[in-house]
């Protein structure tokens, strides 16, 4: 667009009426001049030192809400940054980093977990954090189930406390998976929250919290600012004075701001990131898109013919050209999934031997796929389209969400792959709500969706194969949408949850993978990437490709707390401690 047209929004006036139009033009010019002047001053003022601009969520306006229990509805980083959890799972190293809990221990029979609460941690009103606050927080979640978003109380029977030791007593033996649930519990001060009538609808405008950035300095619909906690329990941290969070509504707008250098830490999906972002300033522009989200799956409704046979599901899987899918739909930002369905999130659990022994039906092999379908009685009719064994036409529909462009492209490739196999599949796009409703009620043939991506394969496979999660068609299921059940998987899952032995857990996890590969409850497509960009012109301390101490993505609570506590203005010395590891116990008085 030529610049001139912008500077004069209307054309030169025609003859005669010169007088009035001239005046209008003059005024417009003056307004413009003023505007430019102000624009000039402003870009200088933005370079304040020790101030970081972050875009963690896409929202075009903010509503003041720092209730840390509602991660998706509260303002970033309420659950992990303003408030803090007991521990943090570091998705890059695979370690559980002690945070407000200094250490923990399971009883030998896995019936009890004892957490030692750190001393010398203070809330922003000066009161010290004690074991009582932890017990209170957990009890609060029991009384108000909406706060218990990971459903800790379906495993925990009661909580008790002795000084700084907090004990969780389980209903049945429960071990490692509890840590993944606990990392998402923000600890709130008992002396404040006990006075709150309804903590579910409490928007907590002035948080009293322990986190590194726990003061709300300014709040408006288009921007809010958080200030440094001067009494933070990790000595010498945090390194920044102020965090600025502008409201940006669209991915495009965020991309422009990132490329422009206005945002220090972002979470945008950027197409051709090397060319449009890194190349602008290779020294300072960084990104990391690790595949740490759950695997994106093609779910086949196992209660609908002919998807109840695992051979059919495997055949569909073999017909999909995942290399192309990843290259075109995902821009090569991830890899093709294998038949275990495990993403990088579970790298430490992945057992390649299972694939060797059971066969990997995610390899692109249309011929075998055709043979399997023929064997299942889904033979081609005279029109070249496959029919159901009873001769009726087979016209499955594949559901996707309107506007989720990467998934839509992936679905289009799948549709083409399956059509090449003679399956008369149609793409159906729905609004997010409608699409998810069909998924929950089991009202679909084939549907794209996500899968669980928490710390252990336990919840991942529970979502895929457990009878506990099974609901009949027509009844809303919050997981196991494909309605698959396996007695063996349930036994393995229970054994996994109860096991306190790392080797045994690995063995059980291998067996779970074997069960999944054997029965193909769902068709894994690709592990979902998480998006993170950093601009190190003003801020240092981000995880780099050489030293990826934690995921770069700013929106993954509580993992981003590991990064938040390491950031500092450029040119200042590194903060004490080892990034991504347990904080040094300097907090003690």
């Amino acid at each position: 667009m030529p610049r001139r047209r912008l500077a004069s929004p209307h054309r030169p006036p025609p003859r005669k009426s010169e007088l009035s139009l001239h005046q209008v033009g003059l005024w417009a010019l003056m307004a413009l001049g003023l505007a430019f002047l102000s624009g000039g001053c402003k870009s200088e003022a933005r370079q304040e030192r020790g101030v970081m601009t972050v875009v963690p969520q896409l929202r075009a306006s903010w509503v003041r809400n720092f209730n840390p229990f509602f991660e998706s509805h509260s303002r970033w980083p309420a659950p992990a940054g303003v408030y803090e959890p007991l521990l943090i799972y570091n998705r890059i190293t695979g370690n559980y980093v002690p945070w407000l809990a200094e250490s923990w221990e399971f009883s030998a029979d896995s019936r009890e977990l004892t957490l030692k609460i750190r001393r010398g941690v203070h809330f922003s009103d000066g009161r010290e954090l004690t074991g009582h606050d932890v017990v209170f927080t957990l009890e609060l979640m029991r009384r108000f189930a909406a706060l218990d978003q990971t459903s800790i109380w379906s495993h925990v029977e009661r909580v008790s406390q002795a000084e700084s030791l907090v004990h969780l007593h389980f209903k049945a033996p429960f071990n490692l998976p509890i840590l993944a649930l606990l990392e998402r519990v923000p600890i709130v001060p008992a002396h404040i929250w006990s006075k709150i009538q309804d903590p579910v609808t409490f928007s907590n405008p002035e948080p009293i919290a322990t986190g590194p950035y726990n003061r709300v300095l300014y709040f408006s619909p288009q921007l809010y600012e958080l200030g440094r906690n001067p009494n933070y329990w990790q000595k010498g941290k945090p390194g920044l004075d102020k965090i600025r969070v502008p409201a940006i509504g669209s991915n495009e707008a965020q991309a422009l701001a990132l490329i422009h250098g206005e945002v220090d830490w972002g979470a945008a999906f950027l197409p051709s990131v090397e060319r449009i972002f890194v190349a602008k300033d290779p020294e300072h522009h960084q990104y990391q898109f690790p595949s740490l989200e759950g695997t994106v799956m093609l779910y086949a409704n196992t209660k609908r013919a002919p998807f109840q046979t695992s051979a059919v599901r495997k055949a569909l899987s073999m017909a999909i050209d995942r290399a192309k899918l990843v290259r075109i739909a995902m821009q090569g930002y991830t890899r093709a999934a294998d038949a275990t369905g495990l993403s990088e999130q579970f790298a430490a659990w992945h057992d390649a031997k299972v694939l060797e022994e059971e066969g990997d039906w995610t390899q692109f092999d249309p011929e075998t796929a055709a043979r399997l379908l023929d064997q299942a009685g889904l033979k081609k009719g005279p029109d070249g389209l496959r029919r159901l064994p009873n001769g009726a036409p087979w016209r499955p529909e594949l559901n996707v969400v309107v506007g989720w462009s990467d998934w839509i492209i992936a679905a289009q490739i799948i549709v083409r792959n399956l059509q090449a196999l003679g399956v008369d599949v149609k793409l159906k796009s729905y609004d997010q709500g409608a699409w998810f409703q069909r998924l929950r009620l089991g009202d679909f043939d084939l549907s794209l969706s996500w899968s669980n991506g928490t710390a252990t394969p336990w919840s991942f496979y529970q979502y895929q194969m457990s009878k506990d999660t099974l609901r009949p068609l027509g009844e809303p299921a919050e997981r196991n949408w494909q309605r698959f059940e396996s007695e063996r998987a349930d036994a393995l899952l229970n054994a996994f949850a109860a096991s306190g032995d790392a080797d045994e857990r690995f063995r059980i996890s291998s067996e779970l993978q074997r069960e999944f590969v054997r029965h193909a409850p769902a068709i894994p497509l690709f592990p979902g990437p998480i998006w993170g960009e950093a601009n190190t012109t003003r801020i240092e301390g981000f995880p780099t490709r050489e030293a990826p101490y934690a995921p770069l993505a700013p929106y993954k609570a509580p993992g981003m707390l590991l990064v938040l506590t390491e950031l500092r203005p450029r040119g200042t010395p590194p903060l004490p401690g080892t990034p991504g590891q347990a904080p040094s116990p300097e907090g003690s008085p």
Binding site: P9, G39, H260, Y430, D431, F436, Q437
Partner: protein, 324 residues
């Protein structure tokens, strides 16, 4: 007077109809808020917690008629309910914070677009058939054919990103705090320039065409001939004789146009991350946030109806034929 009363009665009826539609139209969309809510969590919410949240968020399975009665009762008390997407903020608070910016932006754009379009239409209609007429009319018609958001994106890219002359987003600079100072006022205008320009470019053409054709029909009237015969100057004939009569259709259209401008402004706001109601609306629809949608519909329909009413009252002063 009777005319005014009749119009008033009409607006009361129209408002009641819009209240009813506000309630039912969102519910015609496929899907349900519970599913949309859960989809937002992308599998990070446990089913038990979800059930509890459903209750907390007031997502009940009661029949629509029962809910409608509740809605009317609450409305009578001025209670618009609690937003789902922005839980637990009340709808009135969510709407309130965006409404002013939307009214400012669309009001500014409407004022500029109306005066610019009408002024150009007057001049071009008066000197119809000239080269200026051909060029200017066709340029504005061309821009009018573009969708708002597309123009907005082009302007954002050209004026904001490529040249850096204008900010890429928001209603004022991140470093500034709202105040009654010249600096802040200039900053707000600087930020409103591109979004307003997008709306003006897309909508001025309509005013121009209406005014131009209306001018042309008025120019054929006898009183214009008389004015010319009296030897009055061109400008006087145009501005004092032709324009006041020709502007009536445009004024009638003003109220109608407000609705279009508002909707266009909503899209433009999304592109420029302008903190108005536009993106709220977008999010509300996406997450099937019925209470927020109702509230937004209500505020928009009410403002359009109010503006129409104001125009109706205004017309009485402009058009003597209505004064009986």
């Amino acid at each position: 007077m009777i005319y005014l009363l009749r119009r008033l009665g009409f607006y009361v009826v129209a408002w009641c109809v819009s209240l009813t539609l506000n309630f039912f139209i969102p519910r015609l969309a496929p899907g349900d808020p519970a599913s949309a809510l859960e989809a937002q969590f992308q599998g990070r919410l446990d089913p038990a917690a979800f059930e509890a949240m459903r209750v907390a968020f007031g997502l009940s399975d009661e029949p629509a008629t029962v809910l409608f009665v509740k809605y009317l009762k609450n409305l009578a008390r001025g209670d618009l309910g609690v937003s789902i997407a922005h839980f637990p903020a009340p709808v009135s608070e969510v709407i309130g914070q965006g409404l002013l910016w939307t009214l400012f932006l669309s009001g500014l754009a409407l004022a500029i677009s109306f005066s610019l379009g009408t002024l150009l239409g007057t001049v071009l209609g008066f000197f119809r058939g000239g080269r200026a007429d051909a060029i200017v009319s066709s340029i504005f018609t061309l821009f009018g054919a573009f969708p708002y958001f597309w123009l907005a994106m082009i302007l954002l890219y050209g004026g904001g990103f490529m040249t850096g002359l204008f900010p890429l987003r928001h209603a004022y600079s991140d470093g500034l705090r709202p105040s009654w100072s010249l600096e802040f006022a200039v900053d707000v205008l600087h930020h409103a320039f591109l979004p307003a320009l997008a709306i003006v470019l897309a909508s001025a053409g309509g005013w121009l065409i209406t005014m131009r054709s209306s001018m042309m029909s008025v120019l054929g009237e006898d009183f214009i001939l008389l004015a010319r015969a009296k030897g009055l100057s061109q400008a006087r004939v145009m501005l004092r004789y032709a324009a006041p009569s020709a502007i009536l259709p445009s004024l009638t259209g003003f109220g109608m146009a407000l609705g279009f401008i508002l909707s266009g402004s909503l899209l433009t706001e999304v592109v420029f991350s302008y903190p108005g109601q536009g993106y709220l609306f977008f999010e509300a629809v996406k997450s099937l946030d019925y209470p927020l949608m109702q509230g937004l519909f209500l505020s928009i329909t009410s403002s359009v109806l109010l503006a129409n009413m104001a125009v109706d009252v205004g017309l009485v002063f402009f058009d003597p034929r209505l004064r009986k």
